[in-house]
Point group: C2
Chain length 332, copies 2
């Protein structure tokens, strides 16, 4: 069987790992690589993922040209979190006739913040005969897709709770900084006020669950609080003093007539004991599910992007959610 041509659009940490995995995948052909970052442009993409031999794929900042030349079947898109920001990129890909699987967090359920733009993108995708999907691990799996599948064995579902406990101390430095490790509580709060703190996609996960369960929410609330260190914490990269911020506690709540019908929580901090993911359904039968140690984020996100490709390919054209495609599974 001929390998399927894939272009990697975006070469940050997730995109570079994705390109590397596509390169080694028996069913996929890495046929192009796109990024706007000047130091990356013009280099063999294999250098970015420490591939000893040349791949022959040169990183380009001219998306339209690459797509027109390569004509990929699928583009893996990993650039930014905001749907509105990446919309022109998505349109360029769609017009080239390629399916898109994207890690853009808001694309998990773009109807929440930008219903009109989402409808326009859906129309464009249908007109171009391609399918578009936003996915990942969080959002995309742990606190939405897995939750929804868990409800399939329930005759009644009263409320849904999912929590994720992550030890940021075991993760990369950028992630430790992203959750605010080492900040003062004041600095943390001022960043929250400035909108530069918190997990993008929390509200989208709540909205996708509500959509899947056919519930009309009156409101989706989000809170972002610091987890404050009660002792000195040390990672390979930094130190957190008692009273400083160890990380973040982010919640998303979906309310129906004042009742908390959907409650999601993400605690991501240095020193978090017993990392795990938990799903608790107040349902008949009741469901209590636990992922021991949690789903490890970075590699799992890359895996999810690649593993969703076969499910996307058999789907009808349009803007899809995780609820519209056949159950994804490891693809090799």
């Amino acid at each position: 069987m001929a390998k399927m041509k894939v272009v990697q659009f975006g070469l940050g940490p997730i995109g570079t790992e994705s390109a590397s995995r596509v390169w080694r995948h028996p069913g996929l052909e890495l046929a192009g690589a796109i990024d706007i970052d000047a130091p990356k442009v013009g280099r063999d993409v294999g250098e970015l993922f420490c591939q000893p031999e040349k791949t022959g794929i040169i990183v380009s900042n001219r998306a339209e040209e690459v797509l027109a030349t390569v004509r990929p079947r699928v583009v893996i898109h990993t650039t930014q979190s905001s749907f509105k920001t990446v919309l022109p990129q998505l349109e360029t890909i769609i017009r080239s006739g390629a399916d898109v699987v994207s890690s853009t967090e808001e694309l998990l359920f773009p109807y929440l913040r930008n219903p009109e733009l989402a409808q326009q993108l859906d129309a464009l995708a249908k007109a171009s005969g391609v399918a578009v999907l936003g996915t990942g691990v969080n959002p995309g799996f742990v606190m939405d897709t897995l939750v929804l599948l868990s409800t399939a064995v329930c005759a009644q579902v009263k409320s849904v709770m999912a929590e994720r406990f992550v030890d940021a101390g075991l993760r990369r430095l950028p992630l430790q900084k992203k959750v605010g490790a080492g900040l003062s509580v004041e600095e943390f709060r001022s960043r929250v006020a400035a909108g530069t703190m918190g997990h993008v996609g929390m509200k989208e996960s709540v909205a996708l669950i509500a959509h899947g369960l056919n519930r009309h929410l009156n409101e989706i609330r989000e809170t972002i609080e610091p987890v404050v260190a009660d002792r000195r914490l040390t990672t390979s990269f930094l130190e957190v003093q008692p009273g400083e911020v160890a990380g973040i506690h982010n919640t998303g709540t979906g309310l129906i007539d004042g009742r908390e019908a959907i409650k999601l929580g993400l605690r991501m901090y240095v020193g978090c004991p017993y990392p795990h993911d938990s799903i608790q359904l107040e349902s008949d039968p009741p469901i209590s599910l636990r992922v021991n140690n949690g789903v490890f984020g970075d590699l799992a996100t890359v895996a999810m992007l690649i593993n969703c490709i076969p499910s996307l390919l058999v789907s009808s054209p349009g803007l899809k959610t995780m609820l519209d495609i056949p159950i994804p599974r490891h693809f090799w």
Copy 2:
């Protein structure tokens, strides 16, 4: 929105509970009920599920006539475990133009034991423009669908293990008898030899996982062993003496070149401590998932049948597996 017409085909414990749930479902209309059991035929189906008012739906043993009169959109089929046995029933339903969701265990992956008959059924379903699906909890969810979705966050999967520990002492008497509680070890073994012992669908779960992961198995092995009581065990219905059988330990193993690539285990016995379901993937990242207390079987099976209806309705015609339909979720 008009309610969707549903006929319940088969009124054993699962089918009766299903009819009851359809009757109360806001999106479904119970429009017919079929069973061959003489004491049930001619009665208002509501009597079977202790509904105080009459439903007006009279149980009939004439399937073709009911289907032709009612013309349901979907039939929930809950009669027997063997695909070959139920095939004429499925053909009758398909010819009537209704989609079918069935608890027939072998229908989870009928290509395993009867590939030609399965292909014929697929062709008939396509010609009739209807979709057909076999599902349930086990098989159908815990040891196959949930396992497969769990692999979606993995970049590599070396092996898959799923185990289910069920305390038969908390279940109905027929189930306690089905797992052999109170038998002598000799009697248990002679029933195994006669093929009347063991969980139908174990091999189908293994085969569905292999199919989903695109692995070619050289062999699927099944073992059925007694769990022997080491002390006196008492349930509401029976007593098991030390040395007698408390229940069953059933395994299914998928081998690739002698390696156990897929390993499923079901322990269902009186006195089983800490009932739970467990999924362990030898994968990157590794996944260890646990359903505390397990998914409680009977109601969950009924829920799964009903909850799969919306996913089946949007699918193209043909014989489907759980891997071909959009992710099912609670439907209300």
